[in-house]
């Protein structure tokens, strides 16, 4: 019994993303148009996200750094894969889809398909204590794109 259930959460693709995260690293300083550092105060995990938005608001490049658990690292990796090349508005829509999905709200299959690998994290619903780990990267994306980077407000609220 026991750990077999973990397979629902820690599928190979998730472990692969956390072992070999995509877009992990910083962008060239001049390329960064949007940036944020977010902390998950319950565990001390930190993510720094850097984005290069083109003049017509397309995500041309994206990179993240920071420490975290398997779920938060793989979520960040899958998020960067999913939003690279997307418009700012589409990326914000995806962040909303992801947030709804992990809270167990129904969404159109077409929206979930947009999320690419990240849709796999829908199984986090059955691990409520870990939802914050999954959403940290998407929160960071949303806040960075909306330039909500004021100090003192950059903590993910404890639920």
């Amino acid at each position: 019994m026991g750990l077999a259930k973990l397979n629902n959460l820690y599928r190979e693709v998730i472990l692969d993303h956390s072992d070999h995260p995509h877009h992990k690293g910083q962008l060239a300083v001049d390329d960064v148009s949007n940036e944020i550092t977010l902390k998950n105060p319950t565990c001390g995990d930190v993510i720094n996200l850097e984005i290069k938005l083109s003049t017509d608001d397309i995500i041309e490049n994206i990179g993240f750094t920071g420490d975290g658990c398997t779920i938060s690292q793989s979520s960040a990796s899958m998020m960067t894969d999913a939003v690279l090349g997307k418009s700012k508005d589409d990326a914000l829509k995806m962040a909303k889809t992801f947030s709804d999905m992990v809270m167990g709200k129904q969404h159109a299959q077409a929206d979930l398909d947009e999320l690419d690998d990240a849709a796999i994290l829908s199984s986090i619903v059955s691990f409520p204590a870990r939802i914050k780990c999954a959403t940290l990267a998407w929160w960071a994306l949303q806040r960075a794109l909306l330039n909500q980077n004021e100090s003192g407000k950059d903590n993910v609220k404890s639920s």
Partner: protein
């Protein structure tokens, strides 16, 4: 390991359940302890037969409630060997007691240039109240460091406590390092320079016998829920003459002597610090928990937990895949064991252990400066109490092994 010292599992119905289809092994006792039947029954009895407000009515129920509430205070007084019951203030918990001290004794006695000395292993509840007081008063907050073995460094303590020090505030037992601090020696160092010593006893009082007079502490704060009492009730012990000099923390009913239109006078201890209707049932439940622990005997509790540590700690220390924080010598380690499985984030570890029925804590344990000092983001923490058994330790060790295999081989094997 001989677990015959204490055999009390039947007193704790919550332990008799399956979690994720596995037997529950509750190892998060440093966060909160489970409650024996007698404690929850005493809450029921109070609400079913005696409930009334205390120190107000002249009717029979009010008298019964008042007697039960004050009897609980006397039980606590005896448990910690306070000189008198008036030195036992009921609070919401350790955090409440420490904040009360920063807002009363601290506000009155800390001035610009004064020093407050704490240690790097403090829980946030014995850190932030002093940090914020120091900021308000332009005082200096100093930290006592640790030895290489992870114990409080007494040499550093002697250097940090100076003639400018007014308050020394230290945890009796660490909620991360698994160490019991030398409170008596620290009290001597503080008193030699005219400072007072405050002790955060949250992690000590459930596990070892505490005698506030023998330790010669000025204040001692603790929580009920970690010693098998209800949540929302705690105690602040203080020496009578110090409590007497302190201004009230909150104003309102119960704490007054006489109220005029433009001024008021305060009632005597301990009620001066108990404004408003208190957690009456909580205090009574805490009194029952004190009885329960007294019947078993704190020496037996400590002995039982030492047996668990003697059995478990060397196994963890010997495992190359496991990093243990705090002293590696079981004789110097309490039943709070912080550790990491190398290469596995503690959150992932805690989720995996939970799937095996084992409840542990993972995170920074409300001790972020200590985490930074140790150079880790977070740790897992297993913490034991008198109802834990050798079987619990073996389940925990097996779950650790399975978790290692799971993350080393990925999920493919289990598919």
């Amino acid at each position: 390991m001989d677990t015959k010292v204490i055999n009390v599992q039947a007193d704790f119905p919550i332990l008799n359940q399956q979690v994720n289809d596995e037997r529950l092994v509750y190892l998060d006792n440093a966060a909160t302890a489970q409650k024996p039947l007698v404690v929850t029954e005493s809450l029921d009895k109070f609400y079913h037969t005696d409930n009334a407000n205390v120190h107000r009515g002249v009717h029979t129920l009010a008298e019964r409630a008042t007697a039960a509430y004050e009897a609980a205070r006397s039980k606590v007084k005896n448990f910690i060997n306070a000189n008198e019951a008036a030195e036992v203030i009921f609070t919401k918990g350790t955090t409440d007691g420490l904040n009360m001290l920063a807002s009363t004794y601290g506000e009155q006695n800390i001035h610009e240039g004064d020093e407050i000395v704490i240690s790097i292993m403090e829980h946030h509840s014995n850190l932030i109240p002093w940090q914020q007081l120091a900021i308000r008063k332009h005082a200096t907050l100093k930290y006592i460091g640790l030895t290489a073995e992870g114990e409080l460094d007494l040499v550093d303590a002697a250097a940090k406590i100076t003639n400018r020090t007014k308050i020394v505030s230290i945890a009796h037992a660490s909620n991360v390092m698994g160490t019991i601090n030398p409170i008596k020696e620290l009290a001597n160092l503080a008193h030699e320079v005219g400072a007072i010593i405050i002790v955060d006893g949250a992690q000590a009082i459930p596990h070892i016998a505490v005698d506030v007079q023998k330790l010669d502490v000025d204040f001692y704060a603790f929580s009920g829920h970690k010693m098998m009492g209800p949540t929302g009730i705690g105690v602040l012990y203080g020496k009578h003459e110090l409590l007497d000099q302190m201004n009230p923390y909150q104003f309102g009913g119960e704490m007054i002597d006489f109220v005029y239109q433009q001024k008021s006078t305060w009632t005597q201890l301990p009620w001066k610090f108990e404004a408003g209707t208190q957690n009456i049932a909580g205090a009574i439940g805490l009194g029952t928990a004190v009885d329960y622990l007294t019947d078993i005997g704190m020496e037996s509790v400590a002995q039982h937990e030492q047996q668990i540590v003697d059995y478990l700690l060397p196994k963890l220390v010997a495992d190359d895949a496991i990093e243990v924080y705090g002293p590696k010598n079981p004789q110097k380690h309490s039943g709070v064991i912080a550790f990491n499985l190398k290469g596995i984030h503690p959150h992932d570890l805690a989720t995996a252990l939970d799937m095996e029925g084992v409840a542990v804590r993972a995170g920074h344990h409300c001790a972020q400066p200590l985490m930074e000092y140790l150079g880790v983001v977070a740790t897992a923490r297993a913490s034991f109490y008198l109802y834990n058994t050798k079987e619990d330790v073996d389940s925990f060790l097996n779950a650790l092994t399975e978790t290692k295999e799971f993350f080393n081989h990925g999920t493919s094997k289990a598919k």
